[in-house]
Amino acid sequence: MTARLRDYGLQSERLLWPTKGPSKFEEELGVEELEQALGITTLEKAVRWAQTKSMWPDTFGLACCAIEMMSIVGSRYDLARFGMEAFRSSPRQADLLIVSGRVSHKMAAPLRQIYDQMLEPKWVIAMGACASSGGMFNNYAILQGVDRIVPVDIYVPFCPPRPEALMEGIIRLHEAHQAGVPPAYERRQVAT
């Protein structure tokens, strides 16, 4: 089956305007030839490459891991070399949600709201032991792992993870995405 542009997250006017029908360009060339003429696999790779090189995180620092996340933006563990120093405060503008810190049940609802407000494609990194599994707090107050409410792509262990460890997680995410692994919401069947 030939892949369509929309399969790669690109909207064409076909989707925005369902009843319109093919454009003049497509009528002349034909739909299949158009996509082959554009070299779609290279396009897919190019799109993924662009997405990995500027995956902007959301400011979701909760606890101790947030301090290490701030130090990853610092000059020693420079996150700007990956194009990610622009932490967006608005989830509408963010691609990556780094859940850094322990998530209490009271905070779980805002976390899910923030996740829902993000636009596809979006990724989640569970930073630290508390976000991955509840960490050392196996009690009434802490959500035992943030993957109970949002689908997680990468889990970064330690308490708190060294900035290099978080960077390892981020780079693995980049490599996974570049290789074609879909974001977690497609794999884990969690409602987006």
């Binding site: 909760l62 101790c64 947030a66 301090i67 701030m70 610092g74 322990r102 209490s104 196996n138 009434y140």
Partner: protein
């Protein structure tokens, strides 16, 4: 409800310094932590209620403020906390004393050594355990380094929120050096779990003293850089001076301690007035300012960084002469024996086994110990039933008390000043919510 404490310092003697910031009390009359919208404005349509939700652009963590705005002026504010409530106190009742030391660090996750210290001091107080001198001085050194670390994080994030974004990178550069020192000593950058009941976990490694000296020589230069960048910057001065006023009487009534109290003209520092560790043997000054605004809190913290550097230097001088001394108490009932002994001594093996599996026991009783953490008075109230686990542990969080002053400080300010005020109170949400 009387909010003016007329008995407190009308003669303005020590610990009060200077003139009151304002006369009377500005604590809201109905509920001290909630600023109510004035009656004449409640019927008007111009009040906009904005939710500074738990996730917001500033770097304070998960604090939620419900703010009523009349234009840009704040006319009503109330804070909702609890988004980071972790149940530390209940969790610590399940763990032995030794294993429980990992928990307090994560409460105030920026000044973590101080929380460890206060819990360990409480255990030692109940056990009447003697701590070797080397451990005391090393604890003091690490706590002062942690104070510098905490104030650097405060300065970086506060300046970031007010728009002076490059301060963030400068402060975090120095912070990385401090974390390197922690890693050199304890193996872990944050949450070091280095303090134990009886001393410190391991001996001070080789190479620590030269590295620490390099830092101590570098720090005054860095502080000078920060002062140059900020202190004569007109925008910084205009945004911080005269904003968020809190008088000394109100600060005492609201239970403020630490830099917030010292910036309001109260000369009170637990390190000097109720010394713990070896603070009576080091020379340091306590900075006190009388303006009670955001700028003075900033100046208090900057001066405290300079004083902490001096304390670290004095600790290094003292510690370098204590090479080879014990770093932890030799009471085997409480302290793990050195690993080499486990091969040869049956008693050591048994002690090790008992301490790790069952835990050492602390006599029944209740104590309250307080230290001067970077945020103020951080205290630990422990009730022991004589067993291997605490019966009740409660941490007095300075950030919890500091956030109670939000309503008083932010009367009639603009919303942009609200960010400056909450930043200057330096509240860490882990500390607030525990």
């Amino acid at each position: 409800m009387s909010a003016t404490l007329s008995h407190v310092g009308r003669a303005r003697r020590w610990p009060f310094v200077g003139e009151p910031v304002y006369e009377g009390s500005r604590i809201p009359p109905r509920v001290p932590t909630v600023l109510d919208v004035p009656a004449e404005l409640t019927e008007s349509d111009d009040i906009l209620q904005v939710n500074f939700g738990p996730n917001h652009p500033s770097t304070h963590g998960v604090l939620r403020l419900i703010v009523d705005l009349d234009g840009e002026t704040v006319v009503g504010i109330s804070a909702v906390v609890g988004y980071l409530h972790t149940g530390f106190e209940k969790n610590m009742e399940q763990k032995t004393w030794w294993k429980g030391i990992t928990y307090p660090e994560r409460i105030d996750y920026v000044g973590y050594q101080n929380n460890e210290l206060v819990f360990v001091l409480a255990i030692e107080k109940m056990l009447a355990l003697e701590v070797p001198e080397k451990a005391t001085w090393m604890r003091m050194l690490l706590c002062e380094l942690n104070r510098i670390h905490s104030h650097l994080v405060y300065l970086g994030t506060s300046a970031l929120e007010l728009g002076a974004i490059s301060m963030f990178w400068y402060c975090f550069r120095e912070r990385e050096t401090i974390l390197d020192l922690f890693e050199l000593v304890a193996g872990q950058r944050m949450h070091t779990r280095y303090f134990q009941a009886g001393g410190i976990a391991e001996d001070i490694p080789m190479g620590f003293y030269p590295e620490a000296r390099k830092f101590v020589d570098r720090m005054p230069v860095a502080l000078n850089d920060y002062l140059t960048l900020l202190d004569r910057n007109k925008i910084w001065l205009e945004r911080t001076q005269g904003v968020g006023l809190l008088s000394a009487d109100d600060a005492i009534a609201l239970g403020q301690t630490g830099p917030v109290l010292r910036a309001s003209g109260v000369d009170w520092d637990l390190r000097r007035d109720s010394p713990y560790l070896a603070y009576e043997q080091v020379d340091f000054r306590v900075p006190v300012y009388t303006g009670g605004d955001v700028y003075d809190r900033y100046r208090v913290r900057m001066d405290e960084m300079a004083e902490s550097t001096q304390i670290v230097r004095q600790c290094l001088d003292k510690l370098e002469r204590m090479e080879g001394e014990p770093w932890i108490s030799d009471d085997r009932k409480v302290v793990l024996p050195p690993r080499e002994e486990l091969h040869t001594s049956m008693e050591s093996l048994i002690h090790h086994f008992k301490i790790v599996t069952e835990g050492y026991r602390v006599p029944a009783g209740e104590v309250y110990v307080a230290v001067e953490s970077p945020r103020g008075e951080s205290g630990c109230y422990v009730v022991s039933d004589g067993g291997p686990r605490p019966w009740r542990v409660h941490f007095r969080a300075p950030s919890f008390a500091a956030l109670q002053a939000t309503a008083t400080c932010s009367q009639g300010t603009l919303i942009a000043d609200l960010i400056a005020i909450v930043g200057s109170l330096d509240a860490v949400m882990g500390d607030t919510d525990r």
